[in-house]
Symmetry: C3
Subunit: 208 residues, 3 copies
């Protein structure tokens, strides 16, 4: 174990708070009440890690083991709920914060996969699931085709795939965990922000 500059739990709490905010914002224009907004926030914040842990059989998930996690998304959602009713949030800041959350969640997932001895390709998949499943569940609860399935998302899951694959490669080459993680986060962020900046998207099933 090496000691990173910022402990994992701090990064995780940052990711959870950002995800909770996007969960609240997804409810705009839907006539959803405070309870619905809280569920959407919790599902977005904990959904990715929970799907991963369900599949791995590592239960109960961490947010049920300590009240601190639960408190984080709940309070963030409550504050966001009342702020959103007063003023609009700066979309740009949010997109960048969300890219950080994606990168952090993905790294947490892929590291857990490697630590528990899954094969490299499965570990990468677990990283992507941790990064994107919360948002997929949020959109399913809203009766919508998940945003991450659409070309307009501009390299979301793909950015997670890139970062996770880089982590797995560096880890296999014997790189220190802190360095591999940092490299994975940077690649995920770069791909995601480049995707947004230049509107890069994956091919659609139907080209026309």
């Amino acid at each position: 174990m090496n000691t990173p500059l910022v402990p994992q739990s701090v990064l995780e709490h940052f990711g959870i708070a950002v995800a909770a905010i996007t969960g609240v914002l997804a409810a705009r224009g839907k006539r959803i009440d405070l309870f619905g907004v809280l569920v959407l926030a919790l599902v977005t914040a904990y959904g990715g890690g929970t799907v991963r842990d369900l599949l791995m059989g590592d239960l109960p998930p961490v947010w049920l083991r300590s009240s601190a996690y639960l408190l984080n998304a709940t309070l963030t959602a409550l504050v966001t709920f009342f702020v959103v009713r007063l003023r609009s949030l700066p979309e740009r800041v949010l997109l960048i914060a969300d890219a950080f959350a994606l990168a952090l969640f993905t790294m947490i997932g892929v590291r857990k996969g490697i630590t528990l001895d899954f094969t490299p390709s499965v570990a990468i998949l677990l990283g992507i699931i941790t990064g994107v499943a919360g948002g997929i569940l949020r959109d399913v609860l809203l009766g919508e085709v998940p945003l991450v399935f659409r070309r307009e998302i501009n390299l979301y899951a793909t950015a997670a795939l890139g970062g996770a694959a880089l982590y797995v490669g560096l880890d296999a080459a014997g790189t220190a965990e802190a360095i591999a993680t940092t490299a994975g986060v940077i690649l995920t962020l770069t791909l995601r922000l480049a995707g947004i900046r230049w509107k890069i998207g994956l091919p659609l099933l139907e080209a026309r």
Copy 2:
């Protein structure tokens, strides 16, 4: 262990039957066939307990361990299916029965959380999940925004929260389980029925 007047399994079977009926009724106007109706009934009846048990890692859930549970929702749904085709059900009776089911499911969930040593706030959440997750899954299968997320539901999850919190408080104060459970059921019922009677609802994300 104290011996309640009515054993828990009887109450649980009552809740399951009522939930199965609401699952069948949700399919009205959707051109759904008998199989779809059965799935909706089973999901509504067992969904809340199953999500709770999945998260807790207490598997398989009780309805897979004994055929009696499976039989209950299946037969209830079959009977309801054919009754609904002939005549309409009294909406008011159903709303009151459903309020009882909500209260019972919530108490079962919160008690399980306390028994398995989760923190009070997590136990309350497990109670709410047991009470409302079945209906959320039912609505998601129908491609709709869950009813419990809408203001028109009139204190559904909130009633569960109230009852669960009261149970946790009384339990922490050393109250006998039977009394705490009864008090929790009564508070949940009162909040829910008051919500329906006076059309009380939570604030919406967008006030206008």
Copy 3:
């Protein structure tokens, strides 16, 4: 243990590939990108077995334990993705292949239920879940009422129920596993193909 002519894993891989193809095809007309298509393929291919294993508490599911399973659906989906953009697939061939996949998945599920000592009715349910849950999840991700809930599907879950019940009956009567499985597959296939040929459907909730 008897040695079947075709080992179970070969049949399973066949079913997974067919299911992955139907996952890709379901995305037509939805403006879904390559990542969305891959998720839909994986969910359709592994969803039924995963829901079954989650409920049984047998985790992680087999497709996370070996990369061969993951590779199968991923490659099948990639090839289908690019083929679909060039030409249409023969619908009839696909329907028949899908009927085989349904029969195989159902048998795998019911056998697992019997092997792990669940009651006969629960084992039948586990067979049906393995056969149909992947398609249900696929349709939920697309925001649609599951195809298998509609009369137009023509005996899909019902065919699985018939085959699973026959397997359980033969198994209880002491029939060799290979024979019971073959009989179950044949009955499922016959019901499904007869349903398609003569447009047989279950009654709808609302007859009018």
